[in-house]
Symmetry: C2
Subunit: 472 residues, 2 copies
């Protein structure tokens, strides 16, 4: 299929790239207070550009932190926000509404001395564009904007209705957008979301992420004596919260990676045989992964599941740190009054954060050794999510990707959590198409972040063609 919008995108690509570089020069590091002004500047640049290309109602929406960017174009035929299922008869002229999501904030740059070129001076090398935020996520946001520009410039209109919602706090927890979404504003009435913040499974392999693990992040506090005690004087009679904590943690997960909390696995919806078969055909080598990505003596976990199953479709329990006590150099002979473990569990489809937390908390209270008090606190929670691959919009995306990349799309999951996808599902009843163009080695959150130039180009074309397919 020939697309005038794709032709426009190809013709204007050098300009698109230069514009992206300008956006990347803004050091919008959301976690650092000294870059607060830069975050707002990035938001303002995006709002202005959305207006310039023909989107309407572009504006900043204030939050307690960095602002959201909103814009829309709602002139496609049909009634925006009607359920897709009611619109099966597209001959009636009904057009769906898409909600574009991405984020303009970036990670900090330290360790700065490991960057080959400065993080906020974009540089092309080896077919890549190096800069902080190039892949995560400004390059993908700019692909969205340039896709919309190409369609509007080539056709004077969009093939469906579009709302854009960009945030500036993704790297710091996304609290602002979560509250906004939870308030279910009319501005977000849409049929599906296009989330551009993921990656291809391998170079050149068009990929849709259709599953995310959820998470509960907790603190497990163990208290013994009323104050720190001398381990010589009291050792042997006074409870040691660190020892008790170790005893509790050892009862939560065994050495085979199996979580020992009763009932924890009960509600899991296992991947279908078809999905598992598809995963087995992915270009993935466990030994290569062990060596290049993990670098450990062996991989661990449930031996009866493949590594992709373990990280995508099985819950896990990890300890991130154990604050408290003596952590300096040398020796201090203290029995600390308390110890705290940062413990998180990743959850998979079928599980809920509420039930997982209740099971965990109840079990910890049950197994706590004598002499200590335990307290379990929930720090954050995000539901797991699974997008049906036979969803209308997923199918439209698949058709577009096949045309642009010349290959069948692979459906993968991510072991991580993108809380906004769960929020779209829970609060807005809206499925997400997670179509992203990063690569596994893009060094996001690390020095020398890059975005493959070809992926920027094909990303724009993929978005153009996806909208054309979804609006057919």
């Amino acid at each position: 299929m020939s697309s005038t919008a794709v032709a426009y995108a190809r013709q204007n690509h050098p300009r698109f790239l230069n514009e992206l570089k300008a956006l990347l020069r803004i050091p919008s590091v959301s976690t650092l207070p000294e870059h607060k002004g830069d975050c707002r500047r990035a938001a303002e640049v995006l709002a202005a550009e959305l207006t310039r290309i023909g989107m309407e109602h572009a504006r900043l929406i204030e939050t307690a932190g960095h602002p959201l960017v909103y814009a829309d174009w709602l002139h496609a035929a049909g009634k925006p926000g009607a359920p897709a299922s009611a619109a099966a008869d597209s001959s009636a002229g009904w057009k769906p509404t898409a909600l574009f999501y991405g984020h303009y904030d970036v990670q900090p740059t330290d360790p700065l001395d490991e960057w080959v070129s400065p993080p906020f001076e974009p540089e092309e090398r080896n077919g890549n564009l190096y800069a902080r935020g190039s892949a995560d996520d400004k390059g993908q946001v700019w692909a969205q904007v340039k896709g919309l520009e190409s369609l509007l410039a080539a056709n004077g209109k969009l093939p469906l209705n579009v709302r854009v919602l960009l945030e500036g706090e993704e790297e710091v927890g996304g609290e602002g957008i979560a509250r906004f979404v939870a308030s279910k504003p009319a501005e977000l009435k849409a049929d599906f979301a296009l989330v551009s913040d993921t990656e291809l499974f391998a170079p050149g392999l068009p990929t849709l992420c259709v599953g995310l693990r959820g998470m509960i992040y907790t603190e497990l506090e163990v208290r013994g004596a009323k104050s720190d005690l001398h381990s010589g004087m009291y050792g042997g009679a006074a409870p040691n919260p660190f020892v008790s904590l170790a005893q509790i943690l050892a009862k939560l997960k065994d050495e085979n990676g199996h979580i020992l909390i009763p009932g924890f696995y009960d509600d899991i919806i296992a991947p279908s045989p078809e999905e598992l078969a598809a995963w087995r055909s992915l270009p993935f080598d466990e030994e290569q992964y062990r060596i290049t990505e993990v670098g450990s003596r062996t991989l661990v976990g449930e031996a009866s599941y493949s590594v992709l199953e373990r990280t995508w479709a099985r819950p896990t329990l990890d300890v991130h740190g154990i604050p408290g006590g003596f952590t300096g150099a040398g020796a201090k002979t203290v029995i600390p009054a308390k110890a705290v473990a940062k413990v998180s569990m990743r959850l998979v489809p079928g599980m809920t954060t509420a039930k997982a937390f209740a099971l965990y908390k109840g079990f910890v209270e049950q197994i706590a050794p004598g002499g200590v008090d335990v307290e379990v606190r929930l720090i954050s929670a995000g539901e797991p999510c699974l997008i049906p691959v036979d969803n209308t919009y997923v199918r439209a995306a698949t058709r577009a990707l096949k045309e642009v990349w010349g290959k069948e799309t692979v459906f993968i999951r991510s072991g991580g959590s993108i809380p906004i996808v769960g929020d779209f599902d829970r609060h807005l009843g809206m499925p997400s198409v997670m179509m992203g163009f990063g690569l596994p080695d893009d060094n996001i959150h690390a020095p020398n972040e890059k975005f493959h130039l070809k992926n920027f180009e094909l990303g724009i074309e993929s978005i153009v063609r996806f909208l054309e397919e979804a609006g057919r």
Copy 2:
């Protein structure tokens, strides 16, 4: 027995107390670099005072840290340093040589706002002298010096030979004195040590400490992946060193306080039935101890042993802290590349640090879960020690204490370690008389440290009478 030296001490007590206050005003906090000059000043004050009262060869001995203070008086009849056993016939005129030990450095004062009166402005309240270092250990050091002064001033001589060795690094590990003692200098040739750095078991109850636990302090490091990993992406396949560490620690000690390292208990020399019977008659209430000293829900440990046995005569294993990983507020989804536990074991007579460490290290390496590397490092070690209560000098001390305090001496042990006592034994073949006058509630290492004024007074008299008895 009437002692002119005791009479002198009583007569001069107000001056002795004022002099002690002057010493307490010097903030000789050994761990803080900004007090390096104060530590030297305290050492100089002591050396000058030792000269003033008639001790000889008083001088500072430099170390890599704060200086030692040395002085001697070796004019008693007999040959200093001859073994006590060879001197059973005291009619031959042989006199033993005593080595006085104490320390002039003090603990830091934080939290400063919990002090009722400033830590370096000594204040008398409720029959106590409040100041940092009053009980630990300047007050006891000054009791030694004033005991020597009283004997020299009253009699023009001492009843036996005396060497004094004071250190300024007791609160920071005592490395300087340990090296000095290990070099076995002629200056330290003596028959017994008088160590004044312990406490009475209860107010008014003359006490000799005759046993100390030893200790090995270690770091147990567990390494997994080559670098920190995202717990979403890798959770379930990458080893988590904190989880592995918890699994290891839980296998070192069970919930009944029993250490699970094979062979760990094999060489223990249990206290004699007589010693155990004596402990049972001590004024000690386990429930009272739980409430006022520990403040925990219950006491823990080996149920078949009393609390005094558990803390004095049984080895223990404690974890002091687990540095590494994420310890900040909130949530960071990291699988840390490594975790380190600070683990110490207290050892009791019969055990050796070398064997205990070897058993521990071997067992940890044996039980380490798959996927991680473990490394066990020894940070410091001190041997346990036990002083025979039928030792000549212990018997002399008992006679002196009975006279001064009007009660029979109780023989206790300490769960803590005084490494110098082990060093005196190991390098110099010298028993220690641990005769101290602190009280269990003296708040050493805490705000509002105090020294009971009556104990300062009777402490001086006890030292005078002890030397007279030991030199008879």
